[in-house]
């Protein structure tokens, strides 16, 4: 029996010889996309490294004035959301679409939680005037380079936040598709791609957390 039997219409494109080949193509395409994401963040990590090297004191001081509790909490939230999205894919593959949908909803809730905590932090920064570049007027840290720490902080967390929002829209779309019963043991590649993207969002945060909050 060919593995394509019983597949919903329109999943296997005409120019692929088999579903296996198409899945392989999608996986490779997704990883290439993730590679571009890594290199997108590479620019910011490089900037961080350069300015951290130039202003070690300011970076240490700036880091000490961030809300480390919020940062740690967010790390836990994001790691758990990564776990639930992995579970979602797992459930979809063993033909439990309802459990998969619940996991995606959980992931979305965690993502919202992450953004909420982040928003609380941002509000604190605004109140303290711990803002990047020309808006910097934070009285507690007043060394050369302190503004640069906040520039990097806002650029990195801001870009990461945009990725969280993008990931949430992808996951909402996938939730819709899961509820339609599109993902099963026969085919789950679409969900797999979305999960990969979400894991990348987690991956970036795993590095942002120690670099910004801890050292």
């Amino acid at each position: 029996m060919s593995p394509e039997a019983g597949l919903p219409e329109g999943i296997l494109a005409h120019h692929y010889s088999s579903l296996e080949r198409q899945n392989e193509a999608m996986r490779l395409g997704m990883w290439l996309f993730l590679a571009t994401e890594i290199l997108l963040f590479a620019g910011l990590f490089t900037g961080y490294a350069v300015y951290r090297y130039q202003f070690p004191l300011a970076f240490a001081e700036g880091s000490r004035h961030l809300n480390i509790t919020a940062g740690t909490l967010n790390t836990i939230v994001l790691i758990t959301s990564s776990f639930t999205v992995a579970l979602a894919l797992h459930f979809a593959r063993i033909d439990k679409p309802r459990a998969a949908a619940i996991c995606i909803v959980l992931t979305l809730l965690f993502a919202l939680g992450f953004l909420g905590i982040k928003a609380v932090e941002y509000i604190e920064h605004f109140q303290e005037h711990a803002l990047p570049g020309k808006y910097y007027a934070f009285e507690e840290v007043n060394i050369a380079g302190a503004a640069m720490f906040y520039t990097m902080y806002f650029l990195m967390t801001g870009l990461h936040g945009l990725h969280v929002v993008a990931g949430m829209s992808v996951l909402s779309w996938l939730l819709w598709r899961t509820l339609q019963g599109r993902y099963s043991s026969l085919y789950s590649t679409g969900l797999e791609m979305g999960a990969l993207y979400w894991h990348l969002v987690d991956l970036v945060w795993i590095f942002l957390y120690p670099l910004l909050y801890l050292i």
Binding site: A13, H14, H15, Y16, S17, R21, Q22, E24, A25, L28, G29, L32, F33, A35, T36, E37, I38, L39, L40, F41, A42, G43, L44, T46, G47, V50, Y51, Q54, F55, P132, G133, K134, Y135, A144, G145, A147, M148, T151, M152, F154, L155, L159
Partner: protein, 549 residues
């Protein structure tokens, strides 16, 4: 069972499936196509329009430079024009020219696939290109930028001109480029026809594959760089602003991490075209297939280790300058391998001196001179003298126009019958080729001299004793312009009234000639099984050998 004769007869004669050009003729059937061939043709039209736009900017610049003093335009207008010339030529023409237009069209044909891996993404890539171009052109119409295409900070984050839309346009164009590259990599990995293993891939496919790697890995860094500059402009984050503790050299590092490999995005597909056509017109197997294929990957890799040679006088450390100087020269090794192999392919071949071959000769000459002056420029001590002079301008035009545009024209003429099934006028083709090669030399050789005498680039005015050479350069550029207009005219005539061409007018052994010209929508009635090496001119069988099981 080999059915080569009947099969090629069937393909050459009235094809059973309508060609991709006849399969739907409404505007929507083009705008909403998933067919890689139609996307390729749309890209081709778009990049040719961009090329003429950039060319008009270039000619206006040269006209101004006829006079040492103020002439035709004011200084700000001049600054805007060279910025627009650079942005249009690089982001709208050179980067997508060969990969997105010809790569899209012939790559799936060459590997025996019915389409690229992600046809919808492919179409999206075209629309991203259009969107990026539209936003950039909006910026141009509303005043344009005066930063040069390099957008060096802190000037680009403080100048009152319209930098923001152009940056945004570049960002979106980068997306388009990434999507195309990603698509090609996946296509090559997953959609090769049976029997077509890596060491049987046509050399053009190797060139495009190597290009795609650079597109995917380098372009995101440009994306984040222009994004940061945009944020600097409207929010004053100061990451590249020395007044706020930022480091402008960091911008240059990040910018050239993309923009130097981008040179190889422009030249690697060009090299692929030359590898392909040189075999077809010398009627000989490639000399050193593996060496040509591997040196493409080599250039793609080593090309990432050289960006610092743009920063020799920017305040970069001596350590980095030395390291980058040495690493830059490695590119010369791989390029030389290719050049020797092409010449080796021609040696004792049965050369058919058709229009594409004229461009091949031009390409080789320009690449050698452009490449050698590049090695000279990578020498730190020499670069300090030549930096930001017309010597650099002439050097990179030798590579970008000399090599890439010659290859683009070779590809255009070589694949014209494949794409449209029409023949163009060979005589006019050779006239235009001679005019372009002559005009090109007349334009840029004087610029080498001017640069060596110390004339800086991007200056509105210059001392009077430079005028003679500048007039020579402008005269040359006019010839160059005439050459391109002639090509446009006779190709347009060929499209409308040209004779129907044969299926394989060059007798080429390139795999893209396995199918009809122009190809049917799904490329192949049956996916071919590849048994030959590519460019195998020792046999008399048609390319690839189509086998029906």
């Amino acid at each position: 069972m080999r059915l080569s004769e009947t099969d090629s007869a069937r393909l050459a004669g009235s094809p059973p499936a309508p060609s991709y050009l006849e399969d739907g003729t409404t505007l929507m059937s083009w705008l909403n196509t998933r067919d890689h061939k139609r996307v390729g043709v749309m890209f081709l039209v778009a990049v040719i329009v961009s090329f003429f736009l950039g060319g008009i900017f270039a000619l206006s610049l040269r006209m101004k430079l006829l006079q040492p003093g103020p002439f035709l335009m004011d200084a700000l207008g001049y600054n805007r024009l060279f910025t627009l010339h650079g942005v249009v030529m690089i982001f709208l023409f050179l980067i997508p020219a060969i990969p997105s237009a010809f790569g899209n069209f012939v790559l799936p044909l060459m590997i025996g696939a019915r389409d690229v891996a992600f046809p919808r993404l492919n179409l999206a890539s075209f629309y991203l290109y259009l969107a990026g171009a539209a936003i950039a052109i909006y910026g141009m119409v509303h005043g344009g930028a005066d930063t040069g295409w390099t957008f060096y900070t802190p000037y680009s984050s403080t100048t009152p001109t319209q930098v923001l839309p152009i940056l945004l346009g570049v960002f979106i164009l980068g997306f388009s480029s990434i999507v195309t590259g990603l698509n090609f990599i996946v296509t090559v990995h997953t959609l090769r026809a049976p029997g077509l293993n890596w060491m049987k891939m046509p050399l053009f496919v190797w060139g495009i594959y190597a290009t795609s790697i650079i597109q995917v890995l380098a372009t995101p860094v440009l994306g984040i760089t222009v994004l940061i500059v945009s944020v600097e402009r409207f929010a004053g984050f100061g990451m590249f602003d020395p007044a706020r503790g930022g480091d402008p050299v960091l911008f240059q590092h990040m910018f050239w991490f993309y923009s130097h490999p981008a040179v190889y995005i422009m030249v690697l597909p060009a090299m692929g075209v030359i590898s392909e056509t040189v075999c077809a017109f010398a009627r000989k197997n490639p000399f050193g297939y593996k060496a040509i294929a591997m040196s493409s990957i080599g250039i793609a890799f080593v090309g990432f280790f050289t960006w610092g040679h743009h920063l020799f006088v920017a305040g970069q450390s001596t350590f980095d300058a030395g390291a980058f100087g040495i690493l830059s020269m490695l590119v010369g090794i791989f390029t030389a391998i290719k050049i020797f192999n092409w010449v080796g392919t021609m040696y004792r071949g049965a050369i058919a001196f058709k229009t594409p071959f004229a461009y091949i000769c031009g390409f080789l000459y320009f690449l050698v001179f452009g490449g050698m002056t590049g090695v000279a420029l990578a020498t730190t001590s020499l670069d300090i003298h030549w930096h930001d002079t017309y010597f650099v301008v002439a050097h990179f035009h030798f590579i970008m126009v000399g090599a890439s545009v010659m290859a683009f024209l070779a590809a255009l003429h070589y694949w014209f019958p494949k794409m449209f099934g029409k023949t163009y006028h060979e005589g006019w083709g050779l006239v235009a080729a001679s005019l372009i090669i002559l005009g090109f030399n007349a334009t840029f050789v004087p610029q080498f001299l001017l640069g060596n005498y110390g004339m800086p680039r991007r200056y509105y005015q210059y001392p009077e004793h430079f005028q003679a050479l500048n007039v020579a350069s402008t005269a040359g550029s006019t010839l160059l312009g005439f050459g391109f207009v002639i090509i446009l005219i006779y190709l347009a005539i060929a499209l409308r009234w040209g004779q129907r061409s044969e299926q394989n007018p060059w007798g080429s052994k390139g795999f893209e000639w396995m199918t009809a010209s122009p190809p049917p929508t799904h490329n192949f009635d049956e996916i071919p099984t590849i048994t030959q090496m590519p460019h195998d001119y020792r046999t008399h069988e048609p390319p690839g050998v189509i086998r029906v099981t």
